[in-house]
Amino acid sequence: MPGVNAEFLALPLTTLADAALSRARELGAEYAALRVVSTRGQFLALQDLDLETSITSDDVGLAVRVVHDGCWGFAAGIVLSPEEAARLAERAVEVARASRPVSTERVVLADEPAYPDRQWSSPYETDPFDVPDAEKVATLLDLTERLKAGDGVAHTRTSFQAVRENVFYADLAGTSTTQTRVRIEPELTATAVDRSTGSFETMRTLAPPAAAGWEYVTSADTDLVGEIAEIPELLAAKIKAASVRAGDYDLVIDGSNLFLTIHESIGHATELDRVLGYEAAYAGTSFATFDKLGTFQYGSPVMNVTGDRDTDWGLASVGWDDEGVAGQHWDIVKDGILVGYQTDRAMAALKDLGRSNGAAYADSARHVPLQRMVNVSLQPDPEGGTLDDLVGQVENGIYVVGDKSWSIDMQRYNFQFTGQRFFAIENGRLSGQLRDVAYQATTTDFWRSMEAVGGPSTFYRGGALNCGKAQPGQVSPASHGTPAALFRGVRILNTVQEGGR
């Protein structure tokens, strides 16, 4: 495994830290941290067989964040010199001073041990940026040609995203960490067009984004080739499928769809910064208010949800977060009860929660670290059944596969999701596909209606690279492992009727 990026390690990181931290200490900062962040990203997109977009970019910068007289201050720049690092420390203290008259809260940070001189990297075998672009494009073209050759496939769209993120963090307490994270997402979509009716349908691969290198694209475990082979027939059946009759149905939701519902209705709802109002004007607040901690019935007793930054396949996994807190693993919902939040150091101290569970992240040097979503996963039932066992418990229902459209309100109550494909369930067996399906529910009604979670054989490692939050806007990646699960009596909409047609 290549590990921590060698080029990044060769930068004068310690010199920059010394310059910034000593200046911040002289100016009386209670807390000061220097981050140097170097992120390389690539995005490739093919429309049919044309390479439509190809961009490789490197974003490099450094930032100093301080707590001074109980106020946050932050300044960021791009010149990696000791002079600039010291200047940014001064600017950060200046910003904190300017905030003092209009700040009523005093910032205090939860304690964390010091981690001097540590390194960590996510697991990857082949750095995607060590693979020549021509080879990457040829591999994607080959996959695309296979998909495009399928009967009834009129158009294809293929995209590929890779990120290598290097972060150096050093603070006044003596922590100094250098980390590399690599993530990747290949995605292929087929479109069928019925010119006679003016209708069209799409179907996309379900291989999730992964904390992995280029090897993920071609591995037998990912099996993009196998998935692509099945899509044309599934798509042909979808465009001919009956339009769903709106009403209440029992649903078996595959992990490939449920991961996003977890992200939106549990992941975001249990972010403590939202609960406390820090995102109220933008991302929103949460119905899962602090008074509910330890007693609130979030879902049915089969619901067990963990938060973590330490599973090896997790997109949010790190050695230490952007406030120097080590990666951890904890319960968010236990036997259906709300028992935990995702925190950073200031909020953990504010609410007397003890140590931060390490959810701080900034997507670049020029952005402030804040509490971001960790890996939030629904635990399978160790004794649980297969997908067939879940389907077998439904008389008249729908099996939902793959994520597509999503939307949820600012307190995380009312959500609406669509999917890649929907199969009717009749008398305990899968039947043909349905079209124009969306499911709509209130978060707690939905999770309380979960009658059974599947066993380990139904487990899917979902995730997203593009979670958005904060102002200025920041993106972050997170994984969501989940089994398939059975829900009773969920409202199904017909999206054509919703459009008034």
């Binding site: 930068l11 997109a45 429309q47 439509e52 977009t53 190809s54 961009i55 490789t56 970019s57 490197d58 490099v60 910068g61 930032a63 106020c71 946050w72 932050f74 300044a75 720049g77 791009i78 010149v79 200046e94 300017a98 008259p101 209009v102 009523t104 809260e105 020549p132 021509a134 158009h155 067009v193 069209f200 820090y278 109220a280 004007a281 929103g284 607040t285 119905f287 020029r366 402030v368 459209s405 999503w406 939307s407 949820i408 309100d409 600012m410 307190q411 109550y413 009312n414 609406q416 669509t418 709509q440 209130t442 102002q471 200025p472 409202r491 909409l493 999206t495 919703e498 459009g499 008034g500």
Partner: protein, 460 residues
């Protein structure tokens, strides 16, 4: 990385090092400052500077050219030479690009005269007055009107140079003020936002007074069920619907039958004579008057960098007259093409009156504040879903009589356009949902019949 050369030196160093048939260099120096507040206290504030350099190397000529695109935070001229080498290697390895076209010449672009000027900057000091006014609003509101929000100023100084001799500069200030007020138990919320070119345009006190007026409306709370309602959309809500409609209006997808716009060119989308257009010279919404594309996408091309952007119509007299595409696409198809631009305006010629006038002439209907979490549900019809947010008010006999619950709605902007029954005067507005990507809009408040509120949301 220990030296900061000027953007002009970076452009010239890159062009000087270039060896392929064509080269485009875009240097963007960004200076930004912001204030954020919650629970009537400042939270995360900052001051940042950054730079992105994009080198586009083209190999071959005309329609057969290939392109390599590499971007990086480059601070000195030596490092940009490496970037040129990488872009050129990418261009040589690539197949001919689908959007290839000859690079734009000074004759086509018109010659910029300000290329030699330095980048412009901002600092947290630009918000001194806003911060002071906020302090007063926080004190005045007390626990019964708690404040949350964000103020930001971003100044991008963009330098574009090409091997065909273009030397263009564009300075883009982008600012916003978003203010949200909540009552003591957060059961009522009001919100106002402003697109600003300069923080000096902000009027925090006036906004706070309007936020307080709206919280007052919410002192009477009514519950309404899901259903179709006559609805007054304020400019920000209409902007969020139409910006999405604008982004989805790509020519290639429509021509290939995989878009809600397929077959719609020349159709009348609104019974009213609405004009929907982009115009880089629009006062208060000024944006780059030429193409700046750091990557090619479905409907934009790096080969078009520097091409002038005049006023371009989307709807004329309510009729769809163009779709978005590149110069190369326009050359090989009959579809009337417009180039993507960075502002959007809807006007009804001769329309007058504001939101309060629409309220006054309403017998019974809903008045929205903003829409939120807008996503495409069905691309065949461009059916969107989203929520109402921070204040839905019931209007009866020309007056707001109370606040009602929030709703999840499902609507296509293409259908909404045809159900607009009354239009006010166009004003500059901030598209809340898309504000991280698109801030420059001017829209009228409108009355829409039968707006589909699909279900009630318990969010407050």
């Amino acid at each position: 990385m220990a030296r900061l050369d000027s953007p002009q030196d970076i452009v010239e160093a890159a062009l000087g090092a270039a060896t392929t048939d064509g080269t485009v260099v875009i240097v963007t120096d960004r200076s930004e400052a912001n204030l954020r507040w919650a629970n009537s206290s400042l939270t995360t504030n900052g001051e940042m500077s950054s730079r992105s350099v994009t080198v586009i190397a083209t190999n071959g000529s005309g329609g057969g050219a290939s392109a390599g695109v590499v971007g990086r935070t480059v601070t000195d001229a030596d490092a940009v030479r490496e970037l040129v080498a990488e872009a050129e290697a990418a261009a040589r390895a690539a197949d001919p690009a689908p959007d290839a076209a000859p690079l734009v010449t000074p004759d086509q672009a018109g010659v910029g005269s300000d290329f030699a000027l330095e980048p412009e900057t901002t600092s947290v000091g630009a918000f001194a007055q806003v911060a002071a006014d906020l302090g007063e609003a926080f004190a005045a509101g007390g626990p019964d009107r708690q404040h949350f929000g964000f103020a930001e100023q971003v100044v991008d100084s963009v330098y574009l140079g090409t091997s065909t001799g273009l030397r263009l500069r564009h300075v883009q200030p982008t600012g916003r003020l978003e203010m949200n007020a909540k009552n003591a138990d957060w059961s009522a919320s009001s919100y106002l936002a402003f697109t600003l070119r300069d923080p000096a345009e902000a009027d925090v006190a006036a906004a706070d007074a309007d936020l307080a007026r709206r919280l007052g409306w919410a002192e009477r709370r009514l519950d309404l069920p899901a259903g179709r309602y006559e609805t007054i959309l304020p400019p920000t809500a209409l902007a969020d619907l139409l910006v999405e409609a604008y982004w989805e209006s790509g020519a290639r997808a429509a021509d290939e039958g995989r878009s809600a716009y397929s077959g719609k060119l020349g159709e009348r989308l609104s019974r009213l004579p609405l004009e929907l257009f982009s115009d880089p010279t629009r006062p208060g919404l000024e944006c780059a008057p030429f193409v700046l594309a750091a990557a090619s996408t479905a409907d934009t091309s790096v080969f078009d960098n520097g091409l002038p952007l005049p006023r371009q119509d989307v709807l004329a007299q309510g009729e769809l007259v163009s779709l978005t595409g590149s110069r190369a696409y326009a050359a090989s198809h009959e579809t009337p093409i417009r180039l993507e631009s960075d502002n959007l305006v809807l006007e009804a010629p001769g329309a007058t009156g504001g939101l309060d006038d629409l309220v006054a002439s309403t017998q019974r209907g809903l008045l929205l504040s903003t829409v939120w979490y807008v996503r495409v549900v069905d691309p065949q019809t461009l059916l969107l879903t989203g929520l109402t947010r921070d204040g839905v008010y019931l209007v009866e006999d020309g007056e707001v009589v109370g606040a009602v619950n929030n709703f999840r709605w499902n609507e296509s902007p293409l259908d909404v356009l045809d159900r607009i029954t009354e239009v006010g005067a166009t004003e500059r507005c901030y598209p809340r949902e898309w504000g991280d990507y698109f801030t420059r809009a001017a829209m009228p408040p409108v009355r829409v019949s039968d707006f589909n509120m699909s279900s009630v949301s318990a969010a407050q």
